[in-house]
């Protein structure tokens, strides 16, 4: 149904764009992990390092008017959907200039102006929301799609069943992307999930179920493209499972004792970013171009950290604000 693409001249820009997104995520995440250890970042952070190909490959098929919903491990989705790094970082730091004015934090970054309907700390929490965003698009008659990102653990939530059925009978323009990194906290998917491929559950709804290789962003991109095109054409939802790899613990600070060093090494061997870099070099992209990109992005991430650290904390007097939407005048003012 689809083929892994090779790096040809014609798609050079696309692939470089994927690389750029993935590298941005990687650098952003590495910096967050580092800053988290300083104690300056409150709460919990869940790193997306190793899984960049999923967000990048899927979101490259979307524009601002398409919707996504995300997870507790959501920084990558935000970046791939175009959120501003400064405002993201400020949110992670709990500052007034954050995307959610510091009220949400890492697990609740949202940017409605980009169709990013929120990271979600309820496992499976974004699945029905994306279904509803797809419904909104269908009701309005546009060709915009919605994407729900969720993990292998989330795939055992009943709301997935309900949402897949609903999307199937209404042919909603929704892409359900299961990021199967093999674990839900410490619990292996092989223990908790009754079938080897979450994608095979599509059979229960009469919709396409596709497995893509998360170590190969081009595979993810192509699979997502087919599903997005299908959705835009009014042909309904797809369940896309990406086999991916969580390089770090469940959250920063997780001793990760349910895996051993060999396993972690093996996992890190499947680095989509490294592989793509090698493929780009093979295809003749000059190394200095990639290095320049890295330098530029590192600077952008540093700038984001600076921005975040210099942004004020919310005023304690405002603790009761935003419980209900404010009158539109005030919001627009």
């Amino acid at each position: 149904m689809r083929e892994t693409q090779v790096v040809t001249e014609i798609e050079r820009d696309t692939v470089l764009g994927l690389f750029r997104t993935m590298l941005t995520i990687r650098l952003f995440e590495q910096r967050v992990a580092k800053e988290f250890r300083t104690g300056e970042i409150p709460g919990f952070v869940h790193m997306y390092i190793g899984e960049e190909a999923v967000a990048a490959g899927v979101c490259a098929n979307l524009d601002d008017a398409d919707y996504i919903t995300s997870t507790h491990r959501g920084h990558g989705h935000c970046i791939a959907k175009g959120c501003d790094l400064r405002a993201m970082m400020a949110e992670i730091y709990g500052r007034e200039d954050g995307l959610c004015k510091g009220r949400g934090g890492s697990m609740h970054i949202a940017d409605f102006s980009r169709g990013m309907l929120g990271a979600n700390a309820i496992v499976g929490g974004g699945i029905a929301l994306a279904t509803g965003a797809g419904l909104a698009s269908q009701v309005r008659g546009g060709d915009h799609v919605a994407v729900a990102f969720f993990g292998d653990g989330a795939a055992n939530q009943g709301v997935l069943h309900e949402s897949l059925n609903l999307a199937a009978i209404w042919k909603l323009p929704v892409l359900y992307v299961c990021e199967n990194n093999g674990f839900a906290e410490s619990t292996p998917a092989s223990y908790a999930t009754s079938v080897p491929d979450v994608a095979s559950r599509a059979l229960a709804y009469g919709i396409p179920g596709v497995v893509a290789d998360g170590a190969d962003v081009r595979d993810v991109y192509s699979a997502a493209r087919a599903a997005v095109e299908r959705a835009r054409a009014g042909e309904g939802p797809t369940l896309l499972e990406v086999k991916t790899y969580r390089f770090r613990g469940h959250f920063e600070g997780d001793p990760d004792r349910y895996r051993d060093d060999d396993e972690r090494r093996l996992t890190r061997g499947n680095d989509a970013l490294e592989r793509l870099r090698a493929a780009l070099l093979d295809a003749g992209v000059p190394e200095r171009e990639l290095e320049a990109m890295r330098t530029e992005l590192e600077a952008a991430v540093s700038d984001a950290v600076e921005f975040a650290r210099s942004s004020p904390f919310p005023d304690p007097a405002d603790v009761g604000r935003f419980v209900y939407p404010e009158p539109l005048e005030r919001v627009e003012a």
């Binding site: 009220r103 949400g104 929301l129 965003a133």
Partner: protein, 339 residues
């Protein structure tokens, strides 16, 4: 002399008219839920044969069609969650969850998603979602089809809670709820569905957070919620015959709550009875008692009396169900113990 003939409607039809007028006014209003059409996909005479469990939505499908009026599978979490997502994406969904008790299946979507979204996302989310539910005892529908649950939703910041007691209010409050940008739980009491009241034909709105004094009085304030407003009025009538002048207040919305009207009344009467057909603990009756006492302690000659259901689920058998919701006699008794 021309006599203006005032049109009367049942509460269920008033609610239906509000939905129809909202849909006429704004193409982003949609209606969904189990059997809100009926016979979905069957075509012809077999389609649109339900209009919801009580017929509230029956006028909608012929006017607005399958794109905007949708029967759902029995998947409360899924379709309420889809309503939340659709609202976040700019629609104004009106979701019929049939019975308040069934919101239990969608509670995560309401509590963890809908109620928190505005706050958690720093005010950028507008969530114009209305969830309609039937509630209340009185039909021998037993424990899983009779709960009120409005106390639970009143506990949740970020949700508005509406409990109309008349067809007039139901229409005006539902129109207001649909066009409010916050999620609203709209409770329709089963026992109030049928009785008719005057309802103007044109669309109108009643602001949320404004109580209505149903009967003016000077000796005691009786607050009634939904179907209990009627019982409070009956009790007031009996009390009047015995020489006690009761003021009856219908808060109409529990969140926001019109504290001012309640305090003003108690400032006049000095005593208050709150009638609530829910179990007592952490109930709206308790909330009103607590907040009114805090704000009107010096006016109170006696503690605010709560007249509630017992601390029990709703029983099936009529012999128990009849004494479950506060009776008129219980209200009168409560007032008399205050004197």
């Amino acid at each position: 002399m021309a006599v203006a003939v005032e049109r009367t409607l049942s509460l269920v039809d008033a609610v239906g008219e509000a939905m129809r007028q909202a849909m006429e006014a704004d193409p982003s209003v949609i209606v969904m839920g189990e059997d809100v059409v009926g016979g979905a996909g069957r075509g012809g005479e077999k389609e649109n044969t339900m209009g919801g469990s009580f017929g509230a939505t029956k006028s909608l499908y012929p006017l607005f069609g399958a794109n905007r009026v949708r029967d759902t599978p029995i998947s409360e979490a899924g379709f309420v969650g889809a309503g939340v997502g659709a609202a976040a994406a700019g629609l104004r969904p009106v979701v019929d969850v049939m019975w308040a008790d069934f919101t239990g299946l969608a509670f995560d979507q309401i509590y963890n998603q809908a109620s928190k979204m505005s706050y958690m996302f720093g005010g950028q989310a507008r969530l114009p979602l209305t969830l309609r539910v039937a509630m209340g005892s009185g039909l021998s529908a037993a424990a899983q089809h009779s709960g009120t649950l409005y106390a639970i939703y009143t506990h949740l910041p970020g949700i508005k809670v509406v409990v109309p007691s008349t067809p007039y209010d139901a229409k005006g409050l539902l129109l207001e709820s649909i066009f409010d940008d916050a999620p609203v739980m709209f409770f329709e009491h089963l026992k109030l569905y049928v009785a008719k009241g005057v309802v103007p034909e044109e669309p109108y709105r009643i602001p949320l957070g404004v109580a209505e004094v149903r009967r003016a009085g000077s000796d005691v304030t009786i607050v009634g919620i939904a179907a209990m407003v009627g019982r409070a009025l009956e009790a007031a009538e009996l009390l009047a015959q015995a020489g006690t002048s009761a003021e009856v207040i219908d808060p109409r919305t529990l969140s926001p709550l019109d504290l001012e009207t309640l305090v003003a009344s108690v400032a006049k009467t000095g005593t208050m009875v709150v009638v609530d057909e829910s179990p007592p603990r952490c109930s709206v009756a308790s909330e009103i008692a607590a907040v009114v006492t805090e704000n009107a302690f010096d006016f109170l000659n006696a503690p605010v009396r709560r007249v509630t259901a017992p601390d029990a689920p709703v029983p099936f058998t009529p012999s128990l169900e009849e004494v479950y919701a506060p009776t008129v006699a219980a209200i009168v008794d409560a007032v008399n113990t205050l004197a």
